[in-house]
Point group: C2
Chain length 322, copies 2
């Protein structure tokens, strides 16, 4: 069975159906001798005669009868292989493993997942929510297909594409509403609540306040594990914090806190999508990045943030490593 070919099985099937060499050959688009030879070869391969050649008719032998349904099964499976490919050609199919950092995930995913599963019906989406370094590692190990993180990642093995840039806003107790917006140095002197070690957003916030991240934290920072917690801590009067614009609608829904935009240059971060440069999904991932962009556009359309200054024009990018 070493040199069995698909052609032989197709020819076999045709001959079994037509019971006639010339007609079967015609159906296969080859000459009658070619068919004869391939059938003969198949029979040699198998070691048993498959057809009984009568002077007036060709019919399957008993063994051929046993052989035929199996062959048909195989040919059908191969056809299905083709179907699968055809259907998947320009659609993403199967599993899409997407990683998202925690300061983006809760705000982006609800909208994004809906859009994606609508766009790619039957797509099996796996989401991994963790911090950037782990995401990048899993990406490079092939355990993720793409990740949504703050740019730049500066990994030569990865392609990065910008999704959007968003400002950070100050979250302070409701009572502070309307007070002048502090400048970075002033924030540093306030009780600044931050995410725990490892979140890139923590570093971005610190950087904004010109804190040397390698040095010890300037004050008795309280570390929270989510933006939600941070806002609740602000609400409790423990201090102030920064959150990305995208988080505002969700996180200030019912909290007694006030939001203030900074003066220019506003702090901001750029969120992007990355994938292995070698990934054959590039085209589809690009497509997905569009979907993400649309999803976030919708998220950032309503801007209920009272602006203390004119809206920012070209905000500087924050460091994102980590």
């Amino acid at each position: 069975m070493k040199n069995l070919t698909f052609k032989q099985l197709r020819y076999f099937e045709a001959l079994a159906r037509h019971g006639h060499f010339r007609r079967a050959a015609e159906a296969c688009g080859i000459s009658q001798p070619a068919l004869s030879m391939q059938i003969k070869e198949l029979e040699e391969e198998v070691g048993i005669e498959l057809f009984e050649r009568g002077a007036r008719q060709v019919r399957l032998t008993g063994f051929g009868e046993e052989f035929a349904p199996r062959v048909r099964d195989i040919l059908r499976s191969v056809d299905e292989l083709g179907d699968l490919a055809r259907v998947s050609r320009d659609r993403l199919v199967g599993r899409l493993r997407i990683g998202v950092i925690p300061t983006v995930a809760p705000y982006l995913l609800p909208t994004l997942l809906g859009k994606l599963s609508l766009l790619h019906k039957g797509l099996d989406i796996h989401v991994r929510e963790t911090q950037t370094p782990r995401l990048l590692q899993e990406l490079e190990e092939g355990r993720l297909d793409t990740a949504i993180v703050a740019l730049p990642v500066s990994e030569p093995a990865l392609t990065e594409i910008t999704l959007f840039t968003e400002s950070f806003v100050l979250v302070r107790p409701g009572a502070d509403e309307g007070k002048p917006v502090p400048d970075p140095e002033a924030v540093r002197e306030m009780r600044l609540l931050l995410l725990e070690e490892g979140h890139c957003f923590r570093d971005q916030a610190l950087s904004f306040c010109n804190v040397d991240m390698r040095a010890a934290p300037p004050r008795d920072f309280l570390d929270a594990s989510s933006l939600s917690t941070l806002v609740q801590m602000v609400d409790a009067g423990i201090g102030v914090t920064l959150i990305p614009e995208m988080a505002v609608p969700v996180e200030t829904r019912s909290a007694g806190v006030s939001i203030a935009r900074f003066r220019e240059p506003e702090p901001s971060r750029t969120i992007g999508m990355v994938w292995r440069r070698t990934s054959p999904l590039a085209k589809q991932l690009l497509q997905i990045s569009e979907a993400v962009r649309h999803a976030t556009d919708a998220l950032r359309q309503p801007r209920p943030v009272p602006s203390a200054t004119a809206p920012a024009t070209t905000p500087p990018t924050m460091p994102s490593a980590g």
Copy 2:
């Protein structure tokens, strides 16, 4: 999917398993470039990349992951095709459709079927019991694989092989035990009970009595539909009959009839097996004919038939057409 080959699928499987072109190629017994080309061609065929070539590793794409189990399925089916063939190589497999004339069937089949199904485990044996002309027709139409009939059949499209020759014996009432054995002409004058029209054995019996078969039956023959019935009629004192040797043990088991051998030349018939000259089962059928011969040897070993003369040496063959 028109030019997909098994090789490509095998190579695909190997590459998916090894994740390494050179090693996979080695496992397939080909050179690395050959593998590269076939994989590339497969990917072109499919229209989607199946592998993601990293600098340090080769791994399946998402689509490849969907593709792989189907491919493995197909390869397994093909292997099973090979297994099926290997197992069937020198064994008869599947269905064996065997036709037997009614004056042989009841005596031969019990032994034969046991032997056959022992010899070819899993063989699906179909038996057709009917008269010679129908058997031959079904044989030629491919609805039977072989038939056991009285020879000769003289059909150029059929191969015939002799199984055995057996004598006919006279069955008469038990009271006639020991009486002189009548010669053919005398039998003609007795009330000779025969099988109904169509049985070759009827013609053979008539022929023995030198009755012209084309003429009207000489006397008020009573036609029975089986040898069993004939013997029971003899037992009832209605007349005498002839039966083949093979039927003696079974048919005279409990009847009050006596058996007498004829003087030489004993009447006899030759039973043989026939099949289409084109049948690829020839080899196996020959094998089966051996089994039949052994089965009948065993049947004819005990000869409880009182012999009126010395045993026959070269009995003349009877006509068998019909």
